[in-house]
């Protein structure tokens, strides 16, 4: 094998193979249009994406052990409140359905997850749900699929080379560019913007940032004056924001990928006695509560952790031979400061992403909300 051709660059499945595409395509479009509507964006087009139905005959199977299905879950692990809820929502749903779960946590690390997937696959589960920690796990996902285990990607994407049967997620591109478009609208296409990304090198952060950068490039009069990392920590975000205030006193808006980032920024501006510029982020309860009754303009959306229960449904659908799409796009409410108050949950933990579609009993069980 010393071909000078690049491997795997051939285009994948062509349009003709695509089954039952229309309905699926509509679901995809709607996940974009709902954001466009919430943020009142006029020209917000989804990126090209083709959604098809999976040929379920390939994956239909009886439980390999006992009467109930065993689904392996390669999770992110409880490294933050998102991870906790993602884990627990899937388990809760599995309990409801009477499905066994084989669990492994990556603690946010792709390399660990490679080992996890291999080990889970070796336990020969009926299906596998993977919350991808980075493209690096593609090879191992492929190996699991080749081994005959249907793999559903959950809350993230992998290159098509991974061979994953279905992907259940909300799009990073969607969030990144929606926030950027909202800012552009607020600024009328003109002004100085700072980008506050999460953790350098981590796909979740980098893909959203890249989408934002692409969007801002469309507006010649919007200047991205600086790009900083908040490590998704309010402490770091506040420190960074204080620096921004000092060096760019005339900043017009701040693009942030996280509510924790936004929280730190809001605090820094308030302490400096300056109005908080329009800001974006994900909808953590803390941020909404903290800005309640204050004049802060924001646009928030979520990347809901409880979508993991949909991931489980999808995986079970595969093995039961039910119709399943190869890409399932999760929609989640997006909102701006106008509706913030209606989404705030005083009875819940600050780290909760609102509105949460997780079952209330689960939230109380996890002590995230009061009963």
């Amino acid at each position: 094998g010393c071909s000078t051709e690049q491997e795997g660059s051939a285009p994948q499945a062509s349009a003709e193979d695509c089954l039952n595409a229309d309905e699926a395509q509509a679901a995809y479009q709607s996940s974009w249009s709902s954001v466009a509507e919430a943020f009142e964006l006029e020209d917000f087009q989804p990126t090209d994406e083709q959604v098809c139905q999976v040929d379920t005959a390939t994956w239909k199977a009886e439980p390999k052990q006992g009467d109930s299905y065993r689904v392996a879950f390669a999770a992110q692990g409880p490294t933050n409140s998102w991870g906790v809820l993602s884990d627990e929502a899937l388990r809760y749903h599995a309990d409801e359905l009477g499905v066994d779960v084989l669990y492994a946590a990556a603690n946010g690390d792709a390399t660990t997850q490679v080992d996890n997937i291999q080990q889970l696959a070796s336990q020969n589960p009926d299906a596998m749900v993977v919350v991808p920690m980075g493209d690096g796990i593609s090879g191992q996902v492929k190996a699991a699929v080749d081994q005959g285990i249907p793999v559903v990607l959950c809350s993230g994407v992998l290159p098509s080379s991974s061979g994953a049967v279905s992907t259940v997620t909300r799009q990073y591109d969607l969030l990144g560019s929606a926030y950027a478009e909202w800012i552009a609208k607020k600024l009328d296409g003109k002004g100085k913007v700072a980008i506050l990304s999460g953790l350098a090198g981590v796909p979740t952060a980098e893909y959203q940032k890249a989408a934002a950068e692409t969007t801002f490039e469309k507006y010649p009069d919007i200047e991205v004056v600086t790009t900083q990392y908040t490590e998704w920590s309010p402490t770091v975000a506040k420190t960074v924001a204080q620096n921004l205030i000092a060096s760019y006193p005339d900043l017009d808006a701040i693009w942030s990928d996280s509510g924790y980032g936004a929280l730190g920024v809001a605090q820094a501006y308030e302490e400096a006695g300056k109005p908080v510029p329009p800001i974006t982020g994900d909808a953590i309860n803390d941020f909404i509560l903290a800005t309640d009754g204050k004049d802060v303009q924001y646009a928030l959306s979520t990347f809901p952790p409880e979508m993991s229960s949909t991931c489980l449904d999808t995986a079970l659908g595969l093995v039961k031979g039910e119709p399943v799409l190869d890409k399932v796009y999760i929609d989640s409410p997006s909102f701006t400061d106008a509706d913030g108050a209606t989404y705030a949950r005083k009875d819940c933990d600050g780290g909760l992403l609102v509105p949460s579609s997780a079952p209330e009993p689960l939230l109380t069980e996890l002590k995230m909300c009061k009963a």
Binding site: N80, V84, T227, P234, T235, Q242, A246, S247, D286
Partner: protein, 335 residues
């Protein structure tokens, strides 16, 4: 050969060598300040300088604890664990209300004491290398926090503490830097002027000789780990009250700033060498550097590259002093 003239030579040489030990970090500081003047002149505005001061406070408090441990010839990787643990204890026990603040403070101190005692016991009683002992307790602290909070900690820090993190004296000087200043003076006096400090230096320089002279070296070393963890608790209080929220990101990150600051300033890893002034300069250098890097708006990669280069460079400049003394085979005796 030991007549009058040598007296002056020895005192001047020792004064010179003391000066030279802070010369390298001073040069580093000057370099960074100079680079900043060219690249980001806004660093010299009062607002940004205040941010530098704040950074000094935040990094400095932990660096003081680190200095004590480094002087015993140890190292404390668990400081960032103590910092995280404090904020979690605060949030969980108070749930954001001021009513149980005192209980929470007491519990934080107890938590800090426990961490310090575990470290001290591992190092002193079991002879575990400090690097590994404190790393192990760092992992354990993470485990405790995650098991306790059922995953990611979150919650509010009581407002009654917010002055500690965000307050300013006369509207100018950030409270954290004041806290650091007071603690630095205390640690400085202990090191330079107290019997405890003398015992600490003796232990760090030659543990065997100190022990045989009646110094309770185990107690000295153990106390340093406890002090370090307690200073970690103070740093944790400042840190938590800075934003008012528990920072889940802190729990997982092994923050080496305190070590970097002490070592850049000229505290030797071999123990017994270095003064509070060294730490002070190291802290200032690091604080200026970090602020400058943010001002520069360089990406994550460039920030890391510059930090790494500065660490290596700072130590390179004081390299001669840190080299294993060429004529003594005494490495083993000192541990």
């Amino acid at each position: 050969m030991t007549d009058a003239p040598t007296t002056t030579t020895t005192t001047t040489t020792s004064r010179l060598s003391r000066l030279s030990s802070v010369l390298a970090p001073m040069a580093g500081l000057a370099t960074v300040l100079l680079l900043a003047a060219v690249t980001t002149p806004q660093l010299y505005t009062p607002e940004v300088m205040r941010l530098v001061l704040f950074q000094i406070g935040i990094i400095g408090i932990a660096a003081l604890g680190q200095t004590l441990v480094l002087l015993t010839g140890g190292i404390d990787l668990s400081i960032s664990g103590a910092i995280a643990l404090t904020s979690v204890v605060l949030a969980v026990t108070t749930n954001g209300s001021d009513d149980r603040l005192v209980t929470a403070l007491v519990l934080s101190v107890v938590a800090g004491l426990t961490v310090g005692l575990v470290n001290g016991a591992l190092v002193v009683l079991r002879g575990v290398p400090p690097f590994v002992a404190t790393f192990a307790s760092f992992v354990l602290i993470q485990g405790v926090i995650i098991a306790w909070t059922g995953g990611a900690p979150s919650g509010r820090i009581p407002d009654g503490l917010s002055w500690l993190g965000s307050g300013r004296l006369f509207d100018v000087i950030p409270v954290p830097v004041l806290v650091f200043g007071v603690l630095a003076v205390v640690v400085g006096v202990v090191l330079e002027r107290s019997t405890a400090g003398r015992r600490l230096y003796a232990t760090g320089l030659n543990r065997d000789a100190a022990r045989l002279s009646g110094v309770r070296t185990g107690l000295v070393i153990g106390s340093c780990y406890v002090a370090s963890s307690l200073l970690g608790v103070v740093a944790g209080l400042v840190n938590a009250s800075f934003t008012g929220y528990v920072d889940a990101a802190l729990v997982r990150s092994l923050n080496l700033d305190s070590i970097a600051a002490a070592v850049i300033g000229g505290i030797a890893l071999t123990g017994g060498r270095g003064r509070i002034g060294n730490t002070l300069i190291g802290v200032v250098l690091l604080a200026v550097l970090l602020t400058w890097l943010i001002q520069l708006g360089a990406g994550g990669g460039a920030q890391l590259i510059v930090s790494g280069a500065v660490i290596v460079l700072a130590v390179f400049m004081q390299g001669r002093r840190l080299r294993i003394p060429g004529t003594t085979a005494g490495k083993k005796g000192q541990q």
